[in-house]
């Protein structure tokens, strides 16, 4: 079964500092990769996605992620965080599970706290 591991459950970082949120997945087959963000008391919304092509993908709010097939990773980065980036971030992976169906698996989330 597919699994998604977010290595850090909580990441505190000072405002204007860089941040990296780590995500690893277990599949050896072709995948689609996503990062979703959940602001306090809200639903999840898409931050960015990797479907194919360039391994560096850019998302909203200055975030970017790099797909590394050999390391089965899809780490999320931002060079300078803002207070408004305080949220929980979820990595998600879709794999083909046969018979025309796809399986979407979420990681357990990483809570990013930006300190003034």
């Amino acid at each position: 079964a597919q699994s998604v591991t977010q290595l850090d459950s909580q990441v505190p970082v000072f405002e204007e500092a860089p941040v990296e949120l780590r995500c690893n997945y277990s599949s050896s087959v072709s995948v689609y990769l996503f990062w979703y963000v959940q602001y306090p008391n809200q639903g999840l919304q898409l931050l960015l996605k990797y479907l194919s092509g360039s391994t560096l993908v850019k998302g909203i709010n200055g975030f970017e992620a790099e797909f590394n097939k050999s390391q089965t990773s899809f780490h999320l980065r931002k060079p300078s965080v803002h207070i408004s980036d305080t949220a929980e971030y979820f990595c998600a992976v879709t794999t083909y599970s046969g018979a025309g169906s796809y399986q979407l698996t979420f990681g357990k989330g990483t809570k990013l706290s930006v300190i003034p």
Partner: protein
């Protein structure tokens, strides 16, 4: 453009009571999902639907039932609520077709407490 709307937003139940959560989407999406979110557990899929009149079990279906009588609505029912069902429930939808590339649109969540 409302997107995905969940009602109610908050509910407190006593053990053994029943209730229904309603999810409505106005994007003509084929696929709809119910997830539960618990601290440290991420999102876990309860049930999903690939079209009107169809439903299927997800990762944690026990204690829940669903119905998709209309394309725009996906109902999640608890017949006899238990404290273990205290959680935040999220509905999501996406465009149709067996594609893993489509993005989910989420509702704002429904916080359920079972005493």
């Amino acid at each position: 453009n409302a997107g995905v709307t969940q009602t109610p937003k908050f509910r407190v139940l006593k053990t053994g009571q029943s209730m229904t959560l309603l999810c409505a989407q106005d994007m003509n999406h084929e696929y709809m999902y119910w997830y539960r979110q618990d601290p440290g557990m991420g999102l876990r899929l309860i049930h999903y639907s690939v079209g009107e009149g169809t439903t299927a079990k997800g990762e944690v279906p026990d204690g829940y039932n669903v119905s998709r009588l209309k394309k725009q609505n996906f109902l999640l029912g608890l017949e006899s609520a238990a404290p273990s069902q205290t959680s935040v429930y999220f509905c999501a939808s996406r465009q149709g077709g067996p594609s893993g590339a489509n993005v989910l649109t989420f509702g704002a969540g429904s916080r359920l407490t079972v005493l």
